[in-house]
Amino acid sequence: MDIYRSHVLVCGGTSCNAAGSPKIFEKLNVEIKKAGLEKEVKVVKTGCFGLCEAGPIVIVYPEGSFYSKVADKDVQEIVSEHLKHSRIVDRLLFKDADANIITSLDDIGFYKMQERIALRNCGIIDPEKIDEYIAFDGYKALGQCLTQLKPQQILDVIKDSGLRGRGGGGFPTGLKWQFAKDEDSAQKYVICNADEGDPGAFMDRSVLEGDPHAVLEAMAISGYAIGADMGYIYVRAEYPIAVQRLEIAIEQAKEYGLLGKNIFDTGFDFDLEIRLGAGAFVCGEEMALISSIEGFRGEPKPKPPFPAQKGLFNKPTIINNVETLANIPQIVLNGAEWFSSMGTETSKGTKVFALGGKIVNTGLLEIPMGTTLREIIYDIGGGIPDGKQFKAAQTGGPSGGCIPDEHLDTPIDYDSLLSIGSMMGSGGLIVMDEDNCMVDVARFFLDFTVDESCGKCPPCRIGTKRMLEILERIVAGQGVQGDIEKLERLGKNISISSLCGLGKSAPNPVMSTLKYFRDEYEAHINGKKCPAGHCKALLNYIINDKCIGCGACKQVCPTDAISGDKKEAHLINQNDCIKCGACMDKCKFAAIDKK
């Protein structure tokens, strides 16, 4: 094996890829060769580092120098200064919110509070090389399971660990496996649910892109534990990099004899197949997902029978989320006690969150259960940008709710989030500030649900549509007395009478915003005002006395609604104004108010 004095890690996650990391990777190799350093320095393309905001990210080891927002033109300097002369390029180093230069990864606030189990290899290994995974104890847990443990012993470890499903429901994983093991059937199946549909969530994608073998290993372990020899990975087609890395990983694992026939010479067979989704959110629901793999419309079915009894092709089946699976090898290696020592009474271990929206450090993070939202948003996330006020944190995507300031100190776990009207969901965490209208956010999620409702059961198909119509009316300034009560009644009925999780949770965004931001609804309906200044129909653009009459707004107005002579205060004709906001964007003197 070749030994290198320095490793340059380039993030190859979707976000950094989009920001230009493939070119940087290529150019680093070219420049390193030019400098004659190719035997001393190795460039590695890894999975997601997590701090997407700072992408494209390049880390140079052994120093751990964290270069952020690297551009093509910076590559030569990194090679000639840092790699050749050991002079760190200060201007490219990551700077924290107070503009302090951070020299090492370990000093970045974003990483300090994290505990990485599911993400342990993301951003460290090359996901396209099985040897790197093996070097980090990869497939060791599978080896132990097959050669030293009986299936029931594995189940006991998973049960004792307290691991609960990370896809949203939070069902105890060990129990799910036990149900499937107890079924008497010659054919059973294992499914990995990688149909990550929540808008604003990208945890599963990052694990698949950064550490695909961990998922394969866990699936083989679960297959051995319940007696299945076949597994399916159902992954979104919108994730081309993840799919490609999974394909490479499966091929390599088969080559090494870690998948396929007679694994580790134990007589255990396990094969895997990738199935692509085709853009249907409801397929994240387990029964719908099964229908989709079978080749039908992705419509849920009533339960029972549960998938563990009658699942894929009517055989006992377990379905686990990507993040849940990524925890399994570590639990086997380190023991149930190690895992259950982290977290809260009812929720053990860690949770990965995708932090986005109005927050300084957007990206991916993994924290012990029980961390508070305040710690996530302010200590890890770096707070709200542009000096704006925090308004709400949205968890659980279209199934979850908005959490206001007063609940920011709630320690996050499955049960605490439910108790404040939201839910864990798969881990999307979107931060909103004073400029976001909560009625419109509720409308946004309902719009999504209406679009994605499969149409099988009437409460969801018709009920959510009626709720959306009311919300559309309210944001258009046509809300009437009684709308709030109607929304509440509809929401309650849809929740109790829908067939699957999608319908049952669809009213959550409305119910939680009604609970915490009722005043905004009332302002829209009674006062015909949008307090956040977002809803177009309720806004007027008005020129204030800061106007110097430069005429920039007049030029940019698409409807010629602005009048006024040079160097005189201008005026917007409200009848002609289409409220596009172009004038406000153009004005350099803050002379236009949105009221």
Partner: protein, 156 residues
Amino acid sequence: MIQVDQKLMREELISFIEEQKKKKGPLMPVMQKAQELFGALTIDVQELIASELDIPMSDVYGVATFYSQFSLEPKGEHIVSVCMGTACYVKNIEKIMDKLVDVLGVEPGETTPDNKFTLEPTRCLGCCGLAPVIMVDDQVYGRLAPSDVAGIIVGY
């Protein structure tokens, strides 16, 4: 020439179907392959799939109309996908969409008359760190302002 292509593509699809038939639940992979080959699942393509897999046409049509990635009509040369995820939404993707509608002269979901662009609202693209984001074919453009839009489109 086009007819020759059509014939070759049909043959390729038929041999793919033969391969998939050995597996359980072949319909989705077959339809994904067909869409990749033909660009859309037109009625005659669906009929071919139904007869080769020996299943009712209604099943094929049911699946084709259920999933948003299947299209019954051919799309433009370039697909402009506009992310409608939450992170992009709270960062004003609407303004980017308005600008695209303006620049391309078509409404969301439509294709330009010269068949060059199809404007598509899409589910979360998962690059929330770069919000607001659009994707033209496989190329992602992030941290956008409405003023960036025209420049991106001109490049195609």
